[in-house]
């Protein structure tokens, strides 16, 4: 893994191996703590990002564990609130962003909860097809009381 820290921004390049998930969680926790997010908010944000990367591994790369994933973590300020913005970029399968939606929670069955979790936690969730192949996911969360 290659980490670059500059003005609290963190760019992490990992392979699509679930073994890297804890390091991503730690990086988000660190940036979010510096911004002043509560422990509860940090826990939820790390869960959202974890779910996003798990979806890349499972669906974008079909479980293959040696493919590239880039995670950019940036502090932001909007409307007078500090926050955190994350960009998750993969080079796997492209799908229509409109097709990425959560499922009906009343149907209790294993799987398919990740997108619901991400959308429930983050203030902004934008999926797009990335130039050059793969998908890009932008996530943003503001630190509001």
């Amino acid at each position: 893994m290659d980490n670059e820290t500059r003005n609290q921004s963190v760019c992490i390049q990992i392979s699509s191996d679930p073994a890297h998930l804890p390091r991503i969680r730690e990086a988000i926790q660190q940036v979010a703590m510096n911004i002043g997010f509560s422990e509860e908010q940090i826990g939820k944000m790390t869960l959202a990002v974890d779910e996003a990367i798990a979806n890349v591994i499972k669906h974008g790369y079909c479980g293959c564990n040696d493919q590239p994933i880039e995670v950019l973590i940036n502090p932001v300020e909007r409307d007078g609130h500090q926050g955190i913005k994350l960009v998750i970029r993969d080079f796997g399968k492209q799908v229509s962003p409109e097709s990425i939606c959560g499922r009906d929670l009343d149907d209790v069955k294993p799987g398919g909860l990740g997108v619901h979790i991400i959308r429930s936690i983050m203030d902004e969730v934008i999926y797009s097809k990335a130039d050059g192949g793969g998908m890009q996911l932008e996530l943003m969360k503001l630190n509001k009381p």
Binding site: P18, G43, V108, P110
Partner: protein, 113 residues
């Protein structure tokens, strides 16, 4: 390094208690599920999954618990979750599964109901 998600399995007259531990995420979910399905195969009348030592759980872990709940129901047994920390409890709340699962504070309560 191999880290087990199961610390201990205790079998008693009131049911079986599985004490889970560590991070239950995409890395360790297959092992967690395999262990729980093995216990389900014994068809205990009550299966208590103690989550007190689980530090982190993602949707793959929750999905495993849903799968186990379906298996326990087929076996006409009862599934109870015990003592999740605030972080683990929040994923049940976000997915509204806190209303689906029986979640209690202590193992003793879980073995009595």
């Amino acid at each position: 390094m191999s880290i087990s998600t199961i610390k201990e399995i205790r079998r008693g007259p009131s049911g079986t208690v599985v004490e889970a531990q560590g991070d239950i995420d995409l890395r360790f979910q297959p092992e967690f599920q395999k262990a729980l399905l093995g216990v389900c195969g014994e068809k205990p009348p009550r299966l208590v999954i103690h989550l007190g030592l689980v530090e982190y759980m993602d949707s793959s872990g929750v999905g495993t618990l849903v799968k186990i709940s379906h298996t326990v129901k087929v076996n006409k047994g009862k599934l109870v979750l015990v003592a999740p920390n605030a972080r683990v409890r929040s994923i049940f709340e976000i997915t509204t599964l806190d209303k689906y699962f029986t979640i209690l504070d202590t193992e003793e309560e879980a073995l009595e109901i």
